[in-house]
């Protein structure tokens, strides 16, 4: 009993010392500065690209609305004056004309609100527009589609969502681009956790391991640890910490940029991305995946460093493996890589959270494999 406590204490001391040594290495090479700089750069670039994409998307929305209102305008141009007393056989006709007028006004105002960047007003006009389209479809089924490319079930679905958004004080996200902080950071994490991207990031952030095993320095480390698995575990911890710092800084920067420039939008965690999943649920799923994904891919990077000497080949193999695991249609529902890839491509797709457990299992197995490899591997730099 006493000896097991002593062993545990010794292990903790070793781990503590190894971690401190890693921190020294990070500090002395100004690696922390590079992490911060890259985080700043990536989050700013992400924000810039999103802003740009959103602008393009808004322009398209305005163009579509204008095209619809132009068509409607042309349709209403030759309408004769409404008689004071509408004959019974013309009642429906005039109801259609009225609905078209309402639709035209709503489309025009929605376009103006979008151009002015008033997202709350846009939502109000969008609701008015959908209601008018619904009314129009009621009098003349399917006719609204000619002006706004929406069929009746889609109009009903969007109207329901819009009303919910209005009642909760939120604004509308047309596709995936939004400058609201919550939406921004969810998108960022979806991007960062997509395996081909994350592996690329970890190739950089797992510098300590590469610095050891691409040089003779690993001999120094291996000689001075009781168990080589301690080196593996310590590196995983430091990689997770480095990635964590990177993620937190990026998130904080992005949040600030969102808070500064995305004030015209109001997006809460309960924003419904689809009837099945909200923004908050998606964020929770991502949080569940974060640690297993980092550990798993860090272990893959560790293994590849031990097995593949050439840096370029190593990165190529890593990216191909990660991209293959993510995008090849192999058991997609139970493939955690595929789930992470899907959520980036279509953020409204619900994630199978159980696969985070599978990912954790894979991560632990991979860590063990790397430990075994380290014990059985010959030093490739021997003379």
């Amino acid at each position: 009993m006493l000896s097991s406590i002593a062993t545990r204490e010794r292990s903790w001391c070793t781990m503590h010392n190894l971690l401190f040594f890693s921190w020294l290495r990070i500090r002395r090479r100004l690696f922390w500065l590079m992490i911060l700089g890259t985080a700043l750069l990536i989050s700013s670039a992400f924000f810039g690209i999103t802003k740009w994409q959103l602008q393009e998307e808004n322009t398209t929305v305005v163009r579509q609305l204008d095209r619809g209102s132009d068509s409607l305008g042309m349709a209403l141009y030759n309408v004769p004056p409404k008689p004071a007393k509408v004959p019974p056989d013309q009642i429906v006709y005039w109801q259609i004309i009225e609905a078209k007028k309402v639709l035209l006004v709503a489309m025009h105002r929605a376009s103006q609100a979008k151009t002015a960047g008033d997202e709350h007003a846009f939502l109000r006009q969008h609701i008015a527009l959908l209601q008018a389209a619904q009314k129009l479809n009621h009098y003349q089924p399917g006719v609204a589609a000619a002006y706004m490319s929406l069929d009746a079930p889609t109009i009903a679905k969007e109207l329901k969502q819009d009303k919910f958004l209005r009642s909760t004080g939120q604004t509308l996200i047309t596709s995936t681009y939004s400058l609201a902080p919550r939406a921004l950071i969810t998108r960022l994490w979806q991007l960062l956790l997509c395996p081909p991207i994350l592996i690329f990031l970890l190739v950089g952030l797992n510098w300590l391991w590469r610095d050891d095993f691409d040089t003779n320095a690993h001999q120094f480390l291996l000689i001075h640890v009781r168990h080589r698995r301690q080196v593996v575990s310590e590196n995983i911890v430091s990689t997770v910490a480095a990635t964590g710092v990177f993620g937190l800084v990026s998130t904080a920067v992005l949040w600030m940029l969102g808070a500064l420039f995305g004030r015209n939008e109001a997006i809460r965690w309960l924003y419904p991305l689809s009837p099945q999943v909200s923004l908050g649920q998606q964020a929770i799923s991502l949080a569940l995946f974060t640690l297993p994904a980092i550990v798993c891919l860090a272990a893959i990077v560790q293994g590849s460093t031990l097995l593949l000497h050439h840096l370029s080949t190593r990165i190529a193999v890593l990216v191909i493996v990660a991209a293959g695991g993510t995008f090849l249609p192999l058991a997609p529902h139970w493939n955690p890589f595929n789930q992470l890839g899907q959520t980036l491509l279509a953020w409204q797709t619900p994630v199978n959270n159980w696969t985070a457990g599978i990912l954790l299992g894979i991560a632990i197995v991979l860590m063990m494999l790397v430990s075994i490899l380290l014990n059985h591997r010959n030093n490739r730099l021997a003379d």
Binding site: C13, A217, H227, N378
Partner: protein, 236 residues
Amino acid sequence: MTDSIFQIQNLSFAYHRQVIYGQANLTLTDPGVYGLIGPNGSGKSTLFNLITRLLRPAKGTISLDGTVLTPARVFASVAYAQDSSVLYPYLTGRDHLRFVAKQHGVARERIKLLSDELEVTDFIDRRVARLSLGQKQRLLIALALLPESRLLLMDEPLNGLDPDSVIIIRDLLEAFKTSDQIVIVSSHNLDELDKVTDRLIFKVDHGLSLETVAEGAEARYAKLYRHPRKKLVHHA
């Protein structure tokens, strides 16, 4: 069976299909300093890497005090002064020493003691990248001496040392002669080796041969390895 302290039995190892060791045997029964001699590329560093489990032998065992050396046992009982490429160029000597001291549970005072003894103190807070080869060698020896190990391996410790430093290392090795530790020193500086020990381990073919050499290391080396060769001719 003799009471061996350190034993290598039937050691076989090949690297890139080139056999380095084939059924090599070595038994050391007494503590003290031993020289390890062999031509360049013959596998002296490889032997040290095999002892410290940085390399895995294809066959055979290496044991210390009757126990087979595993990574954990190496950590507890073997110290290894490697070549200077194992040091982190951007860390200082003190960073390295503190790390090793903590790993082995050695008191900090010992760092001071050894630094003074090996005259490392002057450059202990300088980054390794800015140290001369001799300074790095002294730092590596200090690192190896921090934990008190049963077996001490020194890979070319005299490389790049100035005469004063050579004297320091020579004095140190002299002290080991009377300790209960085994010290194996690989070196091409046969004169210096002669001064500290006459027990030499030669790498012959794929094996190891322990000899007590009275005629001097240089003469034995010439007999074992030196082939007649053409003299270099300088053209004006």
